[in-house]
């Protein structure tokens, strides 16, 4: 899907080019850019050295120079090397130049665990980026969004970070028209009235599965897909919470200082008197993500944990 959106973007706008590790000859480590090198040539599909600081910085420069670069970073762990370019340069230039410069850069970052690639390739650090003013942070969780969000990101005059969960790359789905989707609002993926399950990215399928399980037990769960991690669609979150009066936030990041923590804080600040139970979080255990399969599974939010948390806030089961 991503490949399709790349092709569309590059056909539409000659300023768009792609660079990153293994995007050319190898076709991308998740085969996202396979075949594009033959179609668009090495000028527009550029393999880079293993130097995130260097090539993300080059992307910032190209964007400042009028291009529309898409820079791929293989995992969010590796993206930490490029944080300086993203936070100190890309996010800040519009502000520091008094609006004279903008950085129309799109950075695509793979994130998340579940592939047994251990503690240097599996983390979910979206919240680090969602913390930074000047960035738009997206997290497509559906095939439609994976394809449609890129066009919106390229149209944005400021830097946009797109986090793609590694477990979603093989997801399949129908592609309805139009091919572009908005990059401002959250989406209700399942309407319900008893508990609001608020999540994004790789945790969305788990939350939807939990909602189905809960439905079998008479609990009507609503599932909110955040889609945009910065700026958060707070009105959508509050509307759902006000309706259901109970909220569980599911976030593959570590609990402490997480995006889930920010969402719970917003709920507490703005919807306290609509709550029927303290908001709950289902996050990753506070350990580096383990290699062993059973330990990796145990460290991550899972459908069973979401079901249990939802039941706990409803009161039909007291948490252990």
């Amino acid at each position: 899907m991503k490949r399709l959106s790349y092709r569309e973007a590059m056909q539409r706008d000659p300023r768009v080019f792609l660079m990153g590790e293994d995007v050319g000859c190898y076709g991308g480590c998740y085969a996202v850019s396979r075949g594009l090198l033959d179609e668009f040539g090495p000028e527009r599909i550029r393999d880079t050295p293993l130097s995130e600081l260097g090539f993300v910085g080059a992307g910032v420069g190209a964007a400042l120079g009028g291009m529309r670069p898409i820079v791929e970073v293989m995992t969010v762990n590796f993206s930490l090397l490029s944080l300086d370019q993203i936070v100190n340069s890309a996010a800040a230039f519009r502000h520091m130049s008094g609006g004279q410069f903008s950085v129309p850069l799109v950075v695509r970052i793979a994130t998340g665990a579940g592939r047994q690639v251990a503690a240097q390739h599996s983390h979910s650090l979206e919240n680090w980026y969602a913390h930074v003013p000047g960035l738009t942070v997206l997290a497509p969780a559906t095939v439609e969004d994976a394809r449609g969000m890129l066009a919106g990101a390229l149209a944005d005059p400021d830097p946009v970070i797109i986090f793609e969960h590694v477990q979603l790359y093989n997801a399949e789905g129908d592609l309805p028209e139009p091919w572009t989707t908005d990059i401002r609002s959250a989406a209700v993926r399942r309407a319900g009235r008893d508990v609001s399950l608020i999540t994004y990215g790789g945790s969305l399928p788990k939350a939807l599965a939990a909602a189905e399980r809960l439905a079998g037990e008479g609990v009507d769960a609503e599932v909110i897909d955040l889609r945009v991690l910065r700026p958060l669609d707070t009105p959508a979150i509050l509307a759902s919470v006000r309706k259901c009066r109970r909220a569980v936030v599911i976030d593959e990041g570590w609990r402490t200082g997480s995006l889930a923590a920010e969402i719970v804080a917003q709920i507490a600040e703005q919807a306290l008197y609509d709550l029927d139970a303290p908001p709950a979080r289902v996050c990753s255990e506070e350990v580096p993500i383990p290699y062993a399969k059973h330990m990796e599974d145990a460290a991550l939010p899972q459908t069973e944990k979401i079901v249990a948390a939802a039941k706990a806030v409803i009161g039909s089961e007291v948490p252990a």
Partner: protein, 392 residues
């Protein structure tokens, strides 16, 4: 300043428990508006107010039981300012009877010394909703996480309060039985009853009604019982001494014909709420009022005016199969009309013998207010009215 006092909602009521305020201080209220729900021994009753005004201060909290006549709230008369009202109150401090303290009221007072850890878990939404519904949230058992009171718990408690289930069902039954016992004992002790009965041919009424109902949708069909009630209302025009109250050793004729309809409710309860101005209602209006009244009586949402002012009572035990009923008058009323079952029996008219649907109508009347001959006149008029159903 207007004082809104707990009205007597029937001869057998001497106190009531405030279940819900329907308005808040500052709300503008209109004459006839329901402003509170009061639990009597018989039902949760919606109490109307009889003045236009603005709610100033609610003196009796929800959950408190107070005697009839207690000032429940003060209101500003139209155009009056709070300062004027305060001055008036200072001038007459004794005008406000102290509400009777009861055990539940004491329990309502929040334990101020409660520490955070001992605090009952109540969700913020439930607390807010309870305030909106005027429900005592401290008294509700919680079903949420860690036993917290949730919005659903509050709604259930409020619904239970509205349905009059606040005292356990068994208690309510005992209370209602006690109230019926008090009223009926008083009636038989004080009222010298006389009883008359009359067999009324219902052929014309039944045939006319069948034709009428053919023209109506099923939901608007009229029952024979509505015809009987209307005939009672019209017949009373010629014998007004049966329609009114015996109070302080004298008969007070009523100004309207408000017929109390004896309605059985679950668990052996009996309520005779009034349909107002029956003589002025069309049959269709009467039928609608009757259906509405039965439904609301069984749901426990009657209004204070319906409870307090029937001027005569009609009871119909026909459905249960008895031939006739000689009822006990509900004081301070002076008469009760009973109808038995309608069935085809031998009947003769104009020298011919045939079968016809008949019903036995009876009158129990207070001999202090009327004599037998007037009662007989009433039953004759009732029979006559039922022979001309098209005029009902």
């Amino acid at each position: 300043m207007i004082e809104f006092k707990l009205p007597s909602l029937g001869a057998d009521m001497d106190q009531g428990k405030l279940v819900e305020w329907k308005v808040k201080p500052g709300d503008v209220v209109k004459r006839g508006q329901v402003v509170a729900v009061v639990d009597t021994s018989k039902a949760a009753v919606e109490v109307e107010i009889w003045h236009d005004g603005t709610m100033l201060e609610q003196l009796v909290p929800v959950g408190e039981t107070v005697p009839v006549g207690t000032v429940l709230a003060t209101l500003l008369a139209p155009g009056e300012t709070p300062e004027q009202a305060a001055a008036q109150r200072r001038a007459a401090p004794a005008a406000r009877p102290a509400p009777k303290q009861t055990a539940p009221a004491a329990a309502v007072a929040a334990p101020i010394s409660a520490t955070l850890a001992q605090r009952k878990p109540i969700s913020p939404a439930a607390r807010k909703h309870a305030r909106e519904l005027n429900v005592d949230v401290e008294g509700i058992a919680g079903t949420g996480p860690h036993g917290a009171v949730t919005v659903e718990d509050v709604e259930k408690a409020a619904a239970a309060a509205r349905a009059g289930a606040v005292p356990a069902a068994a208690d309510r039954y005992a209370e209602m039985r006690k109230a019926i016992a008090a009223a009926m004992s008083r009636s038989k002790r004080e009222i010298p009853h006389y009883y008359l009965s009359e067999t009324i041919p219902m052929q014309r009424a039944a045939e006319w009604l069948a034709r009428e109902n053919e023209k109506r949708p099923v939901t608007e069909r009229i029952l024979i019982g509505a015809l009987q009630i209307k005939a009672v209302a019209l017949a009373l025009a010629k014998t007004p001494e049966l329609n009114g109250f015996w109070k302080n050793g004298t008969f007070e004729p009523a100004t309207g014909v408000h017929i109390g309809v004896a309605i059985s409710i679950r668990q052996g309860g009996l309520i005779p709420p009034a349909i107002h101005d029956v003589d002025k209602k069309t049959l269709a209006e009467l039928m609608r009022a009757l259906s509405d009244l039965v439904a609301r009586a069984r749901a426990g949402s009657l209004r204070s005016s319906e409870m307090s002012d029937p001027t005569i009572t009609v009871t119909n035990l026909g459905e249960t199969g008895v031939e006739s009923v000689f009822g006990v008058i509900y004081p301070p009323q002076v008469a009760l009309v009973g109808f038995g079952r309608m069935e085809a029996r031998p009947w003769s008219e104009d020298g011919k013998l045939f079968t016809a649907p008949l019903v036995t109508a009876s009158l129990s009347a207070d001999h202090r207010a009327s004599n037998g001959i007037r009662g007989a006149r009433f039953l004759a008029e009732l029979r006559e009215r039922l022979q001309h159903p098209e005029e009902l």
